[in-house]
Structures are given as structure tokens and as C-alpha cells.
């Protein structure tokens, strides 16, 4: 019975390590900031989840009682990763970082009358 748990923990550990490495490889290799943001936010979070589940399984079978500490770390990381990714994407858009030419779609731009470069059209004209 114990070797099944050990094999499962080993498999989850290696899967977690592979996902962590792929996330960091994507961040080191991809071309612009918005592409680089994808690696750490998805692959790395999944990898650390796998690794903490492996640790939880191992210590559960080793000590006989389950522990909430790893679940707490996993939950905290899974909640905070999208928030920090959203803030980083907002920062990149705010600094107007360059993206590669083949990117399809543009970030939402403000219309000229919304930044004060053109007078706001009167609601009666053109809408009646």
C-alpha cells in the first residue's frame, strides 16, 4: 500500500517540476511582455499545485493524519496568481510596452472625445 502512495507522489512531483520548468522557459523565451505573461500565470501555478498535492499525499501516508497547511498554500497561490497577473497586464498596458507586429486585436482605446481631443457630440444631433 505504501509504495502506491510513493509512486503517486513521485509522479506528481515530476509533473510539477516539468510544469514549473515549462512556465519559466516560456517566460525566458517568448518575444514580448504580453506573451511572456502567459507562462508563469498558468503553467507555474499548475506546477506548484501538483507539487503541494504530492507533499500532502506523502505526509498524509507518513504521519497518518491529513494536514491543512499545504491546502492553505495551494489555495492562497491559486487565488493570488490571477490577481497579480491582472495587475501586471494593466501595468504593461499603462507603460504602452511594444508588442510584436502579428498580434491580432488591439487593446481597447479611448475615443478621441473621451480624452478631450474632440468636442463631445450633442446628443440631439445624429441620434434623432
Amino acid at each position: 500500500m505504501a509504495w502506491i502512495v510513493e509512486a503517486l507522489a513521485s509522479l506528481l512531483l515530476i509533473a510539477g517540476g516539468v510544469f514549473l520548468f515549462i512556465g519559466s522557459l516560456g517566460m525566458a523565451h517568448l518575444k514580448d511582455f504580453y506573451m511572456r505573461l502567459h507562462g508563469p500565470t498558468k503553467a507555474t501555478t499548475l506546477g506548484i499545485g501538483f507539487m503541494l498535492i504530492a507533499s500532502m499525499l506523502y505526509f498524509w501516508s507518513y504521519e497518518g493524519v491529513p494536514d491543512v497547511q499545504e491546502v492553505l498554500i495551494t489555495l492562497f497561490l491559486f487565488i493570488t496568481a490571477p490577481v497579480s497577473a491582472h495587475l501586471l497586464a494593466k501595468t504593461g498596458l499603462h507603460l504602452q510596452l511594444k508588442h510584436i507586429d502579428v498580434t491580432e486585436g488591439k487593446p481597447v482605446e479611448l475615443r478621441p472625445e473621451e480624452v478631450g481631443e474632440r468636442p463631445v457630440p450633442h446628443p440631439d444631433k445624429g441620434h434623432g
Binding site: 512531483l13 520548468f21 517566460m27 511572456r36 504530492a54 507533499s55 505526509f59 497547511q69 499603462h94
Partner: protein
């Protein structure tokens, strides 16, 4: 079996940390460096978990929890500073 898995995973996580260090050094803009630091603290949590498995102890998981909280808060603080020029308005 678990020892072999620990060796493989330690190698992969260390390689991931070296890649993060590369992006931290050459990252052309400020958000790239913040992103590299953000990924580095997650990888260091993975290293702490591996150390706990290696030494067969659960003492270090509280430091992993602390690193998770402080890393998130520092990322948010730097992003708010770049976005608004102030952290608490």
C-alpha cells in the same frame, strides 16, 4: 523511488530559477523584472516544499506560506506604484 523523483524535480526547479534569473537580468522593461521576481518566489516555494520532503519534516511549510503572502503583497505594491505613482492613496 521518491529519491530519484526528488533529484529530477530539484534539477528542473533549479533550471527554472536560472531562467528566471536570466529574465530578471536582461528583461527590457520594468514589468518583465517584476514578473521574473513573481515567478522566482513561486519557484522558491517549490524548493522549500522539496526540502521538506527531503528532510522528512514539516517545519519549513510555514515559511513557504509567509513567502507566498509577502511575494504577492510586494508584487501588488510595485504594480500599484508603477500604475498610480503611489501605493496607498
Amino acid at each position: 523511488m521518491l529519491t530519484l523523483a526528488l533529484y529530477i524535480t530539484l534539477t528542473l526547479v533549479s533550471a527554472a530559477l536560472i531562467l528566471n534569473l536570466y529574465r530578471l537580468a536582461v528583461g527590457p522593461d520594468l514589468p518583465d523584472r517584476v514578473l521574473a521576481l513573481d515567478t522566482m518566489y513561486i519557484n522558491s516555494i517549490a524548493l522549500i516544499v522539496l526540502l521538506g520532503l527531503w528532510l522528512n519534516t514539516k517545519t519549513y511549510f510555514e515559511s513557504a506560506l509567509l513567502i507566498a503572502m509577502l511575494g504577492f503583497i510586494s508584487t501588488v505594491a510595485v504594480c500599484k506604484y508603477i500604475l498610480r505613482g503611489d501605493i496607498i492613496e
